[in-house]
Assembly symmetry: D2
Homo-oligomer: 381 residues x 4
């Protein structure tokens, strides 16, 4: 069963990630799909307060009656909530107060652990809450990157290397057959991975390495962004509407390419895997190469034979329920099922994924135009 | 090999469908996703002129040099084209001229048949052209219905019964196993059905009948449109944005429900299958019933054991390529593959589908909010 | 007092203007600010039916109960009405039926005149109705021009010369003083011209001629569309959003300029007055010339000393009520007052203005981005 | 000639206004038309740096090379600038750095004054800069109010009384005649007040007091927001689009009205002048009362006979140039003229106007839907 140290360790990491920020950096929301750092800090806390402390500890005293409204995200079952695009307007509670909220709830959980025998139900809720917090750790970083990227001063806020060179090469060959797909075992997993089931796969090959910045540049220089033949119809419209011709965060200055990272504006590391591309771009690159993206089933079946973890890898699979998928009752059940339409599955993990928060059955998902995650490309054929 | 009579017969049906229209009815386009009747008449003709006569008959003389620009649809490979939302602004060429265009091309094809030995390539192109025309026959009707439906006079333009009572009931039980999916045989089929392949299915049941208007009304009266628990997140947003609370074309007058049909405004036939619902509504209805929509593979595997053909049936499968799918080279290859993203598969056929234009492997597809097709619901569990 | 022949003559002109149209041309509406020809034909008729026949002739039998809903325009006081941007979707009533409606109402008015003594009230209503119809004659032409202009076939529908060379030149000098402004006399006038009142003017000069296409081309070639210094702030935003760099309807083909007219695509007549420019363009041109636009008071005070009537001339006056302006009670009172905000006054008349429908006190008005009228420029300093 | 103490005093007030804010409050921008507090602090400083120190003091060392880009507002002539709706995304420079920028420039100006003989040109620039800063002091407050008003916690940031009871009553009667309008004298004034000129006015009466919250409530309770007869056509559309039925910042809780102020949420002071209404609402109220708004000329002519200064008072005059208006050369000339279209003049001053920054010839202007200023109503007839 889970113990308080594990809780403290995950919660502590969230705070570490934002320790170089100025107060102002915590506040803003540069588009509707990202959230302010402050909101992530508070919302993950709200999860423990709402689903654990307020539900299970009669002695717990709520930090502030308005915080449910302010920091609920998409749980319709848990009352009203701030409009998503107004998250960046909430100057109050202040950053200091949000850290006080975290402390209050952390101490509440500590007291709760001291006096309570942790049963399976509590364990499951706490583990869900920590996995939820880990998911938000990654979003905290990717949202922060987007929020700061519009600033012409290109702020430096984290000493990390987003672009590491890989050393794998070549292709994995997989034979035709029935493969078992989906989570099995004892650890934590989300409901969307459940329902382990058989999938029949035809023979295929899958690359051992991710597409690099250098390879993606070849696509750009070959006119990949100008030839409709490589693109889905709605990808082509998206491209032309936004006049995109390179990955998100790339800048061309005096004929040289740079990209913005949380460590500031940097020259491109050409041998590192490309990042921040949409599904449309991933699919177009694959078409240009005469290949395709793997299905999520192919990816899972072959994943032990290649390195992964630097990029969320777009698959050609739509995000749909597995057989026997059933959503949990109540607000917790809103977690995954209601997003199973018009999104694509990404497999793997990224350099921003929290430690111990990845596994080969994990199903991440984003809409096809999304670019602000560390998303990349692995080819199949 | 195909002969001219077959060509003439399909082409003639297109004209029959619009024979009760006033000239004005041919012109308008009430939303970007529908097209004017006149445009369908001309665009199907443009297909034969462009891909058959201009390519293969050196003696053919083009009807009008501007018509390629005016009546190309989405074939980027075949030059520029009218903005999709401007199709309803083309008062010229007139309806009379468009019929003259049809005659000109029909006669061109007749002459071409007289002097040419029909080889496989010509046969394939002609059959593709006729299937293309049959697809547009259905769109001609559904677009026309939408175009006229906004008129408070509710015009009557076709003597047909869109709502027929079914007599099937009960469930088909299917066992676990590997099923063969995809087209086989000699007749015509689209490239998106190709690549016959094995799919492993778990045991399932599928309804022998479609959900009726009466059943859908129960959902409405039980508050189905007001409870977010039944809806996908983006379906819920769609619903609230448009303030929808009933299928498209339903009107409530003095506490009684009516619907608009091509035969005018009619009282609801409660035992007929519901139509004109979006994927969101289909999925919400299924969730409310404690069931789900079938996958397209389940549908195809079980289809011989139930009646179908009144409604395009939403499946829970996203529209994705089959294994070994490859798009044809050139403009013809733009037909299907580039739409394989963010759409759902519908199986079956509808009362507006042309005769001999349905088969159990046919993969129709629309975006999730689409309601103007004769789309309905078959449950699985 | 007015007689039936006068009525018949004005009504007949409306029909003459559309006699070269194809049925299809009557139907469409290419933007929200223009209306279909069919709608103008019906709406002007609705005016006489609603305000004269249904109000004053108990024996009159209404043509169709739905037509009030279909052909009301902006008279909130007279019941519900078709959404403005749905006017182009009303294929029914057909063009033939609309002409039958005109006949029915014309005969109704004829009978009404035969049996009724025309008193002042009836006279005033009839004269208002005919002036209303004359206003719509001009709109019928300008809307038709816009509707057809998007067609790459550039239809020819009227044998008229929109661009006539002027022969005036030089400046009128006016002295400081109190001038009387506003309508006086016995003929018809709108309420917005009433309240004749004194306005003090400083000395000014006003051009005897309108700015020509040649002069406007000089502005274009001098970079007038690229230098923000000549533009109002919102004009500059408008310009950049739409990427405008020439008057509406101008086309450049092989380095030569043409414009679309109701008589088809024509080479520019360089010495004729420029047309189809917005207020922003008129003001920018004037600024570039080191001049300004006249106020509507200056225009009226000096108007007897120059030729006018080819173009509606943008003034620098906002459209505001004269002193003692009071709107008439009831629906008729909605005619003018409620538009007196965020519009600019245009004085004069255009080549599309109906005969006998212009006078020097007439106050036309359009919003600042409007270009589809025959609007032009006269400079002052 | 101006001295450094005057400069210091105005600059100091700007800082006082924001002294109760949390760091987070300085950052946000809740709509495109408002700006962050931080931006006002920096932009007013940029004015002195750009137009005084960088132009006139060769020894001055620029604070930061990026600040011209970041804090230019609408001076196209002074280089590129941050997109207006991105002002709230600039977390860097931080609030602390912006205050350092203010200090740097203040010290620069101090040194400049010490070593420079203040001539007329410098005097004029400095006075313009201080008046510019005073304008931004008012905007700082009104923007801040809007920014914080969307927070359900209703933050308290300033101890001031926005709603003071007036004691005037009755009407001023003015006789017909020629009145002199526009600035005269020695003090500071903007170019838009210049060109003192004669205006002929008919006899009129103007109220000695502003419309109160109580009177405005009567309009609301009489159905003023539901009757189109009182509204301009575009005001009626605006109303229905936004579903407005009360002034900005009013909240109804348990059948009682409150309003948000910079001093927190407060019950309505019914006898104080109504504030935060658009031109549309002001004009509709006047129409409902059977009165009208005064012209800006009537206002100026009568202003000595009534109290003013609590509210910016909507007039019925469009914001247009006075005779002989000419804009100054260069970037300074962009100040006023380019906004002279589609805005209405407001006269007077408000409780947020800086001391010594009001005079009876002052011409303020806003677009007709604007509500976030302390705008109110004075009737005329």
């Amino acid at each position: 069963m889970i113990n308080f140290e594990q809780f403290k360790s995950v919660r502590g990491l969230t705070e570490e990630l934002s320790e170089n920020l100025e107060t102002e950096d915590f506040v803003i929301q540069a588009s509707e799909e990202v959230s302010p750092t402050k909101w992530h800090l508070a919302h993950t806390t709200w999860f423990f307060e709402t689903f654990v402390l307020k539900e299970l500890d009669p002695e717990y005293s709520e930090f502030h009656p308005d915080f449910n409204f302010l920091f609920n995200s998409y749980y319709n079952g848990k009352g009203d909530r701030t409009q998503r695009d107004h998250r960046g307007l909430m100057t109050r509670p202040t950053v200091r107060e949000v850290f006080a909220y975290r402390d209050h709830v952390n101490r509440g959980v500590e007291r709760f652990f001291q006096k309570t025998e942790i049963n399976q139900k509590i364990h499951d809720l706490m583990v869900l809450g920590l996995n939820h917090e880990q998911q938000h750790q990654e979003l905290l970083l990717t949202d922060l990157k987007y929020n700061l990227s519009l600033n012409p001063l290109f702020p430096v806020v984290l000493d990390c290397n987003e672009y590491k060179v890989q050393d794998a090469e070549g292709w994995v060959k997989m034979t035709e057959g029935l493969y078992e797909i989906g989570f099995e075992g004892d650890g934590f997993s989300y409901d969307n991975e459940h329902g382990r089931h058989k999938v029949f796969l035809e023979p295929f090959e899958i690359s051992k390495s991710l597409v690099t910045n250098r390879e993606f540049l070849e696509f750009m220089e070959a006119g990949g962004y100008e030839d409709h033949n490589f693109w889905h119809s709605e990808g082509w419209d998206w491209l032309n509407k936004h006049e995109f011709d390179k990955p998100l965060y790339w800048h061309k200055q005096n004929d040289q390419f740079f990209y913005y990272t949380l460590n500031g504006l940097k020259p491109i590391e050409w041998d590192a895997p490309v990042a921040h591309i949409s599904f449309y771009e991933a699919a177009a690159y694959a078409a240009w190469k005469g290949c395709r993206l793997p299905t999520e089933f192919e990816w899972e079946a072959a994943s032990d034979q290649f390195d992964w973890g630097q990029r969320w890898e777009w698959t050609s699979s739509a995000y749909l329920p597995y057989p026997r998928y059933a959503k949990a009752p109540g607000a917790i059940g809103e977690y995954n099922g209601k997003f199973m339409v018009n999104q694509m599955v990404l497999r793997g993990a990224s350099i921003a994924t929290s430690p111990n928060h990845s596994r080969k059955t994990y199903r991440n998902f984003f809409s096809t135009p999304s670019r602000w995650q560390f998303s990349g490309i692995r080819l199949a054929k």
